[in-house]
Structure formats: C-alpha cells, structure tokens
Amino acid sequence: MNVELRGITKRFGSFTAVNNVNLQIRAGEVLGLLGENGAGKSTLMNVLCGLYAATEGEILIDGKPVSFAGPGEAIRAGIGMVHQHFMLIPVFTVAENVVLGVEPTGRLDHLDLVKARAQVREINDAYGLEVDPDALIETLPVGVQQRVEIIKVLFRSADLVIFDEPTAVLTPQEVVEFFAIVRSLRDSGKAIVFITHKLGEIREISDHIAVLRRGEIVGHADRPDALSEADLAELMVGRPVSFDVKRNPNPPGEPLLEVADLMVLNNNDDVVVDDISLMVRSGEIVGIAGVQGNGQSALVEALTGLTRVAGGTVTFKGKDITRASARERHHMGFAHIPEDRQRTGLIPAFTIAENMVLDSYYDDRFSKGPTMRWDVVNKAAANAVVDFDVRATSVFDAVSTLSGGNQQKVIVAREMSRDTEFLIASQPTRGLDVGSIEYIHSRIAQARDEGDGVLIVSSELDEILALSDRILVMFKGRIVAEFEGVTADKAAIGLAMAGRYEGATA
C-alpha cells in the first residue's frame, strides 16, 4: 500500500500544529519521521490514522483520495498504529488482547478463543514474533508486550504500520530484536512509519528520512546515510547542536553519600531494592543505568527520604541519615529532580511562582510567621525564570501551560537555585526536546564542577554515557555491574541492563 500525504495542514484554533506537509509512504519501505517533541509528529500521524481531521490537504491511498471520519475507518483502510503507551489489558492473555474489539465469534455470540489463538500463531509464524498466545500480558516483559501491540495491528490486517517512539521503553538488546521485526515487516511488503527523536536509530532502520520542525518538513533524505547525525540534529533543532557535555578533568573529592546494604520493600512487601551498596563522591556524577522498573524509583525514594528503608544504612558526610525525612535532607543540601514531573515534580495547576517554592515555602526568606511573602516569592521566581531560561510570559502562568522542557526547567530552577551539595536526578530529560536536554545536562555538569555529588538515574543509556563519571547498572533491584564512565562499553552496559552481563560485578 502506498500512501501519500498532500499539503496536510492541521490547526487548533490559531495554533498551526502541522503546516503543508507532503509525504510519500511506500510499501516495502521504512519512512523515518524525525522531530522533537512538539514538532507535530504525533499530530500528523493522528491525522493519518483518523483521530484528527486535517484542516487542509488530502490523503491518498494508492493514488485514490480518502477521508476518515474516525480511527475505525482508518483501520479498515489498513492503517495501524503502535502507540508509545501500550493499550493492553494486563490480566488478559495475549490472544484475548489481540482480538479485543474484533473478536471472532461463533453461534449466540460465543467467543471463539480457539480461532483467536490460531490466528495469533499464524501472525507469529509469518513475522517471527515468538509470542505465546496464552501468556498473561502482565507476566510479559515490555519488549514482548510491544510485539503484542504489533500483532494487534497486523491482526486488523494493516498494510501501513506506524510506530510512535517505539524504542523509548526498550533495552538495547530489545531494540535490536525490534529492528529485526521491523525489517521482516518491511520485507513482507508493509509500509512502515517510524517516529522517533533518536538520531542513531533513525539512520539505522529507515529507508527514507523526513525531518519535522514546528509542523513543517525541513529536511528530507532518500538514503539514510545522506545526512550525518549532526546534520539531522541541526535540521531537527534548527541550529548546530553539541552532544558532548563538557567534562571537568578534576578528580572527584571526598565521599559524600555512602549507601550500605540498602533494602527497600514495596507495598506488597516484595524486595524492590536488594542489598545495594554504592558511594558518590563530591564532584562526581554517578549514573545508574537500567531498564525502567528495576527498582530505580524505590532507590531514589529511599535516598531522598520518601520511603521507608527496610534494611541497611545511608550516610551523608559521615552522618547516618537513613531515617531522615525529605525535608531534613533538603536542609542538608539535597536537591531532587523527580522522575515524573507531572505527577511528583510539579503541581500543574499551580503557578510557576508557587511551584518554584514548593519545597522551600516555609523558609524564612519566603514566609513570615504564618503568612507567605508572595511578593518575595514572585520576584525570586522571576529571577529563576530568567536564570534558568524558562520560556514563560509571567510567573503567574500555570505550569500546565508550559511545554515539557520548560516544566522541567522549572523543577531544575527550584532545586538548583540554592546552595546544594548533592543532586539526585531521575530521568531528568525524559521526553524533552534537544535544546532543553542540552541545557539541563549543562546545568547538571555545572553542579558537579562546583563540587556537588550527583546521582543520575536514567533509562536512556546515551544520557548516562554523556554525563557519568562512573556507571552502575541496576537489574531486578540489584547493582549488577559497574563501569568507568569514560571507558564504558555500550554493548556491555546493554547486556548488563538485560541481566546478562558476565563481567566483574560491583
């Protein structure tokens, strides 16, 4: 199936999300669609799969113009999308999830699961997906769940498969396996759209590349190697980008944070942090790599005083702080950039100014007796907005009106615009545009250069590699490997993230 987008424009009110986009998607080829968050990639694809109606322009399938009144019609026309966030029911089996909504039924609406299983197996065999139709979704690793989403799309006989940021949740090994699947889909004649903001991946998998910026196609390549990563980055961002974080040659100083035999349980009393020992020195960035859900969140909560520790000790500058509260640690100079800015980092309905003092509002600077000194708060917030390059029109804007990058900068400003000694940053740049990533990385490196100890937790291996002086890999609640930042071997870290590293363990 060949699909052509001709002059597609999508406006929301006065805001033009997609402007006059022309794209050719051909059978048996992978189109890589590159762009930052907010560039209009998802809007464009939502137009293609019938979620939005285009304001202008037309979609042609095999030369014939079509219009979709809803996603159902797009699916019937053979367009399928694998979303970034999986839409699976955890307590159902693979087969049940695949047939959901289009169930094969027998007499009296009897659900024919035998047929469903057989159909899933058929798709399995055709594309080498290797998914057990009877497995419960909740028991499957993320990479396999993604394959279930792919089976769902194929089951609805899609000829065009759109992948929205498919590699964000995968380990490096899973990415390799995923690419193999994409190639087998392509070779069987499907048209593929691969949406991403990762430069390396797009060059590896795509047959064509289109770069989207501010809703417009700003670059196009018919061969993946026609443009270098630097070219792509420049096209995507609109200016030259440097990915190298400036490293300070200073050797790290005294041990700052020492963790010994730390155990943390979750609400069900399962061990989520299993006997972890680590140490962060002043002037050093330690990165914790690992696929999400391997205990990193619990580790961070334990280190920041937000969850109870079941065993072991945490020492800060020689003082036992295992049981210190979050606020006590804040006073000791802890800064914490939480992993989920919307849920735990910010109060989206509050103003920028209010969010800037979320953890220091009780400070004498910002309050007098029972009352808040809002004038002081607002001025301090205005300063921080300027110092940390938050793009906002007023400190009274609700944080929810800001872009993700600017929201994250509000957190960074709040946590780092005071004297800190130790920074814990969890997924500090998840979902951000390149410009914001660059900026936040430089701020983190600056903190290190000024003598802070820094602990970065990220599932983006590139981020860990770019920043860390030392890298620890977490798998199933344990630290399974340690690497020196400069000499780290990406493949070895990837293996460790998947729990298959045989080298020296930490």
Partner: protein, 380 residues
C-alpha cells in the same frame, strides 16, 4: 552549588504581571453557575406543571420566591439568617475540597458543635455577654473540629476514606444527640421529650434589627460569616498552611515529594473544616433556635456541600452561594404561604442546581450560544 552565577534583577517587570482571566475561566466561574440557577428554576416550573399546578400559581410562587427572599427588610433579614450557617459550614466543606478531602460530615459536626455550644450556653449563669457569646462560639467550633478530626486522623493513620468515616460519624452524632438530650443536666426540666435547656440570654448572639421591628431575626452571626469568609480567604491564599492545603489537594504526590506532611495536612484541614461546621451549629443554637432538639441541624450540613460546590470552593464564591441558598430557603417559605406550593420544590431546585454545576458540559450543551466554542486544546 552557589547561587551567584548571574546577576539577579535581570527579569523584566512583565514576568510579574498577571494575565487577565481568560474567557474559559470566566465562563467556568460565572456563566456556568448562572445558567445552572436559571435552568434549575425553569425545570422547577416544569416540575410544578407536571404535578398539575396551573401557570398562574407557578407565576405567583416565583413572585413569592423573590419577594420572600429580597422583597422586604424582613425577607432580607430571613435570607441572611438562613445564609449564615450555610456559608459557615460551606466554607468548611470548601476548605476540605481545597485540601483534597470530601467531607460529608458537616451535618454531624454541626450537631456536635451545636450541642457543645448549648451546654456552654446554659451552664454559666452570670457570665457577661462579652465573655459568654465568644465562649459559646469557641466551644462549638472546638467540638465540631475535634469531631471532624477523628475522620482526618482515621484517614491519615489508617487510610480509611473520609467519605465513609464522616458518613458514619454523622450517624453516630444523630444518636449521640438523642442520647444527650435526655441526660438530666441537658434536658429541660419538666419535659419528657428530648429537648435541651434554653441558652441563657447572655449567651445569645444579639439580634441586630430589633430596633426596626422586634420580629427581625438577623443576628450578629452575620459578622461571623463575613469574618470567616475573609479569614478563610487569607488562610488559603496568604499563608503557609493554606499553601500546604492547596498543594496537597491539587497533587498529593507532589506535595509529599516536596516534603509536606500529608497526615498532618489531612488532620488539620479536617479539623478546621469541622470547626467551621461546629461554628455554624453554635451559631444556630445561640442565634436562632436558643436550644437543641433532635435533628436541629436540619440538613444544613448537606446543603453546605452544595454551597461549596456552587461556590467553586472559593471563599467569596461560597458566600455568594450561601446567600443564594439562604434566599431560596427564605423565599421558599414565603412561596409555601402565598402560593401553597410545597417547600420541597426548593429542594428540587437546589438539587437541580447541583446537577448542572457538577455537569458543566450539560449546561454548555443546553446553552451553546452562551459559551465560546468548545476548545480542542489538543496539542502534541
């Protein structure tokens, strides 16, 4: 890291300028409640039509509703008198909403606060008014606050949801009041029915308009109401505690991450909400009823939930909503007298207002021309 990286004061004054509320906010705050009231009145008329009331009577009842609520000094006095406990308890509910708590227990808190106030009100003969009235109010507020704090503590310590526990505490309070009203030192001498001794004259909130007409019931509680509105506004928006309340209400996880103590916030917010409801109860026994009898709270605690919702949990909005509900109540009584329409109609109208407030989309659908086009705020 140190703070002196860039010279400060580098920001422009524009950053400190507030944007005017946009049309959506205006619609949400003003137009939706307004339409809700209008639609509720229209549907109330429809309900009357459906029960075979003729048009002339419907007309007369709405005229009576207006004249009975704002048509005379007496009407205004009645409206204000009814609005006082509704606003006080409504403020408490609103405070709970702001802190993320759904306090269904105002009714029970009014009863407990009112009982404590009655006992205080008849137990200290000889106290001067200037001491006795505040004492009655403070004891009422304290009792209501402590009673509500039980639900807060249960939530903070055990996770028991406050909706359930406040409902249960309401039920307990009904029977507790029945029991207390038969205790020797509370029950009025010579009476076999459960009714309390009367509040001493020096413990009564002074009436304000008796110089105009001795029958006007408006009492000094009206100042209490205004004072409470100002106080809660100050508390919510100008103080540290209010900031903690609002943060915990908007996003409890982020508040926890910021080091706020969730349990303390819950107990304090519930306690304060209960204190306001208790104050409403004290206000009723000391300003209007003069004594306590079974069920003297008369559903005010539940109407207050409606008041808080209609007032969008904003102190001034709660005041306006309290006045509206007070007017409906006062006007409803007049309606019953003049047109013979049951006061239950007022209950229907109040309920309809709440339905429309709770379903703003419904109001938007009914009155599409009153609103700007539904925004598809979907960006990437």
């Amino acid at each position: 890291m140190s703070e002196t990286k860039k010279p400060t004061n580098g920001f422009s004054e524009a950053l400190l300028r507030r944007a005017a509320p946009d049309r959506a906010a205006w619609e949400d705050l003003v137009i939706v409640p307004l339409f809700a009231v209008v639609v509720a009145l229209l549907l109330g008329a429809a309900a009357m039509l459906a029960t075979d009331v003729d048009l002339a009577t419907i007309g007369r009842s709405y005229v009576a509703l207006v004249s009975g609520s704002v048509g005379s000094v007496n009407a205004i006095s009645e409206t204000l008198t009814s609005a006082i406990p509704l606003t006080l308890a409504g403020l408490g509910i609103a405070l709970g909403f702001r802190a993320g708590l759904f306090n269904i227990g105002a009714e029970g808190q009014i009863l407990i606060g009112g009982m404590a106030a009655v006992v205080t009100g008849f137990s200290f003969p000889g106290l001067p008014m200037i001491v006795h009235v505040p004492l009655v109010l403070i004891v009422g507020a304290l009792a209501g606050g402590l009673y509500a704090a039980i639900a807060g503590w249960l939530r903070a310590a055990t996770g028991a949801h406050e909706v359930i526990s406040t409902i249960m505490l309401n039920l307990i309070s009904y029977r507790l009041v029945d029991y207390m009203l038969r205790l020797d030192f509370i029950q009025r001498e010579g009476r076999s029915d459960p009714i309390s001794k009367s509040v001493l004259e020096n413990a009564e909130l002074p009436r304000l308009l008796t110089w105009l007409d001795p029958n006007l019931r408006l009492h000094a509680g009206v100042f209490l109401m205004i004072g409470a509105v100002i106080f809660i506004h100050w508390l919510l928006f100008k103080t540290r505690m209010g900031f903690e309340f609002r943060a915990s209400g908007e996003n409890p996880e982020a508040a926890r991450y910021a080091g706020m103590r969730a349990g303390l916030v819950i107990v304090l917010a519930m306690g304060l909400a209960g204190a306001l409801a208790g104050l409403a109860g004290a206000n009723q026994v000391s300003g209007v009823l003069g004594r306590a009898s079974p069920g003297f709270s008369a559903g005010i605690g539940f109407d207050a939930i409606a008041v808080a919702l209609l007032g969008r949990s904003h102190p001034w909005g709660v005041l306006l909503a309290g006045l509206l509900f007070g007017a409906l109540e006062a006007g409803g009584r007049q309606m019953q007298v003049d047109a013979g329409v049951s006061i239950d109609l007022i209950g229907i109208i109040q309920a309809l207002i709440i339905v429309f407030i709770a379903a703003p989309l419904l109001v938007r659908a009914l009155f599409p021309w009153g609103f700007s086009k539904a925004k598809t705020s979907a960006k990437e």
